[in-house]
């Protein structure tokens, strides 16, 4: 009581007796084990990427040696250039770049339209609770759980009747429709977590439906909008089946082109070109993840907890 610690500074700092000051950081075996496991797991998941990158930098003679993990003796980007501009995707040999631009043309409008509609839906459902709002929301959610393969055939007929089958607007419409449930859910849950008094204050101030949406709510919804952009961009970019069916021959997305390159049956199988094309295709989602991983995790959590 009140007496000063009698032990030496050394003993004290080691926490041997009479604990004093901040608790020393200890590394227990359990913690070491956890870190060890995490490092091993991370390395394990990196192996395919490693193989892909080094294979794409090798020439075909070197690949034939079968030394999968060996670093390239004579690194070259020839395979990358070929994959981008010369590889054959069926009859044409213009590389994967056409698919890249097609994917851009499909993804950008689809992401924008689905987010605009999803955010309006979510806003209307969480603040302007009209009669039947819950029913509409329930139906939308139900849509999220229907496997989309089931509705493909009816959708083909529908888009054909609308004159959209095999066109760019057609595939954008399809992606927007399939993105609607998750976008609405995301925005509804986010808006539900905002204080309702904010909405009431804006109404007392005389703002209407659109004024509240654009001037009050959307500026506050930037984090969840980023999440929506990430989700939709990766989802639509990685889509294969819908693009193959609905986009039409002129607008086949990158994923479909990649498949065509990899499964081309004549001539030599150019593993280095295949690897380069695959990495090129995966690059956009990869960059999106790496650039915004923080928002991604935060947004998923924010959307999931409240609802």
């Amino acid at each position: 009581m009140g007496s000063k610690p009698q032990t030496s500074l050394l003993k004290r700092s080691m926490g041997l007796d009479n604990p004093w000051g901040p608790r020393p950081i200890k590394t227990s075996p359990a913690r070491m084990g956890v870190y060890g496991f995490l490092i091993v797991a991370a390395l394990f998941f990196c192996i395919p990427l490693y193989v892909m990158v080094i294979t794409s930098l090798k020439g075909m003679p070197e690949i034939r040696l079968g030394e999968l993990f060996a670093l390239p003796n004579d690194p070259t980007v020839a395979a990358w250039l070929k994959a981008w501009a010369e590889a054959c995707t069926g009859v044409q040999c213009n590389g994967i770049k056409e698919g890249f631009w097609n994917s851009i043309k499909i993804t950008v409008p689809s992401v924008m339209v689905s987010i605009v509609i999803g955010s309006i839906n979510g806003y209307a459902l969480s603040f302007w609770r009209s009669r039947g709002a819950n029913l509409i929301f329930g139906l939308l959610l139900f849509g999220a759980f229907v496997p989309f393969q089931v509705v493909i055939f009816p959708l083909i007929i529908f888009t054909r009747e609308m004159g959209m089958y095999g066109t760019l607007p057609g595939i954008v419409f399809i992606h927007t429709a399939f993105g609607m449930p998750i976008m609405t859910l995301l925005f509804r849950n986010y808006f539900s977590s905002l204080p309702e008094e904010l909405f009431k204050a804006a109404r007392v101030d005389g703002a209407g439906f659109w004024q509240i949406f654009f001037q009050i709510m959307m500026p506050m919804a930037i984090p969840i909008t980023i999440v929506a952009v990430i989700l939709q961009t990766t989802g639509i970019w990685n889509d294969f089946l819908l693009g193959l069916i609905f986009a039409g021959r002129e607008n086949l997305p990158m994923t479909v082109q990649l498949n065509n390159i990899v499964t081309t049956t004549f001539g030599v199988r150019e593993y280095n070109v295949n690897m380069a094309a695959t990495i090129l295709t995966a690059l956009v989602p990869l960059v999106v993840y790496l650039a915004s991983g923080k928002y991604f995790v935060r947004g998923i959590a924010a959307g999931a907890v409240k609802g």
């Binding site: 009431k200 804006a202 109404r203 007392v204 005389g206 506050m220």
Partner: protein, 358 residues
């Protein structure tokens, strides 16, 4: 002239009857406080007056106009919320001017009104800041400013001080009172804090289960509560209650007769009936002062809670825990035997069945 008038207001949520045939008239320039515990419907009533909730039946009149079907912005009201509800991405200036900009008022007039409001509330140095850069008290001041700048006749406050700490709450309370004296607007103020209600209000409406129990001045509510609920709700510590049988002016509690002929009965004393007898802790005296009181008792101290300027003494009388508020200078000790007394003129008597004051 009536400023706000609520007529036969009914509100039902599914099966829950939140407000029941509620009538309330508020005079121009009056400061009315809606007081009650949570879930009593006070905030709901305020939201109905503001037009933020659709009502099931009845009418709402503001300034002689039937606004029952009007939008909130057309009702001539300004509202202050518990969570401030400032628009986080806008500066204080933009927060204040948002409603005016939405209404399409000329820029020059907007800046004049914002300036004047900022002067009244002394928030001019904060105009360029964002809400996140303000303290709780400053935020609430801006929220009040947002109602003020709209130049409306009626202000609605929804527990505006509940999110602030005790000291700030007391400061802002006085400021709101000062503001009311200066502006002379009608103000309707919702709170669950009886101190706020008693200090601010011209009249208090005490609510329970969607009905107004008593609508009266703070003085009347404290001294003449109309029923058992109001008597128990107002006052801290709460009023002491004992059950008894009243016969004429003779109250029988646990076999002991107490003469309460000094009590002012509302109705002529009738035949014997069961009553609940109440006396506030601050109306009981201890020690020598008790000698001169019409009713005297001896008891033992259980617990003493010293609060600086006064002490609350807990004891047991008629088998019931009793609290006594005293400024007794001498220190009291537990288990000490004390003499207490009170004057029935300051007591309260309620019918056991109807719980109404008699």
């Amino acid at each position: 002239m009536l400023s706000v008038s609520v007529k036969d207001l009914d509100l039902k949520y599914l099966d829950i009857h939140v407000l029941k045939k509620l009538n309330l008239d508020i005079k121009e320039g009056e400061f009315l406080v809606l007081l009650g515990s949570s879930g009593c419907g006070k905030s709901t009533l305020l939201n109905c007056i503001a037009g933020l909730l659709d009502i099931s039946a009845g009418q709402i009149w503001i300034n002689g106009r039937n606004v029952t079907w009007e939008e909130p912005k057309d009702r001539g009201i300004g509202m202050v919320f518990q969570s401030y509800a400032l628009y986080p991405q806008m500066s204080v200036e933009k927060n204040l001017s948002f409603g005016l900009r939405v209404a399409g008022i000329a820029k020059k007039q907007i800046s004049e009104r914002v300036q004047r409001t900022a002067e009244i509330l002394q928030i001019e140095p904060l105009l360029k800041r964002k809400p996140a850069e303000l303290s709780g008290g400053q935020r609430q001041r801006v929220a009040i400013g947002r109602a003020l700048v709209r130049d409306v006749d009626v202000f609605l406050f929804d527990e505006p001080l509940s999110n602030l700490d005790a000291k700030l709450r007391a400061d802002l309370r006085i400021e709101i009172k000062r503001l009311h004296q200066k502006l002379k607007n009608t103000m309707i103020y919702v709170t669950h804090d009886q101190v706020e209600a008693l200090t601010l209000a011209d009249r208090i409406a005490i609510m329970k289960n969607g009905m107004i129990q008593q609508l009266s001045t703070p003085h009347e509510i404290y001294h003449k509560p109309v029923n058992l609920f109001v008597a128990g709700f107002i006052g801290s510590p709460t009023m002491n209650f004992v059950p008894g049988v009243l016969e004429g002016a003779n109250l029988n509690v646990n076999g002991r007769d107490i003469d309460i002929s000094r009590y002012s009965f509302l109705e002529p004393e009738g035949k014997s009936r069961a009553v609940t007898f109440g006396i506030r802790p601050e109306n009981i005296v201890i020690g020598e002062a008790a000698e001169s009181m019409p009713v005297k008792l001896t008891t033992r101290v259980d617990i003493v809670e010293p609060m600086g300027s006064e002490s609350v003494v807990w004891t047991e009388i008629f088998g019931k825990p009793f609290s006594i508020k005293t400024q007794f200078e001498d220190e009291l000790f537990e288990t000490e035997e004390i003499q207490i007394g009170f004057d029935p003129i300051k007591a309260h008597c309620f019918d056991k069945q109807s719980e109404m004051r008699i």
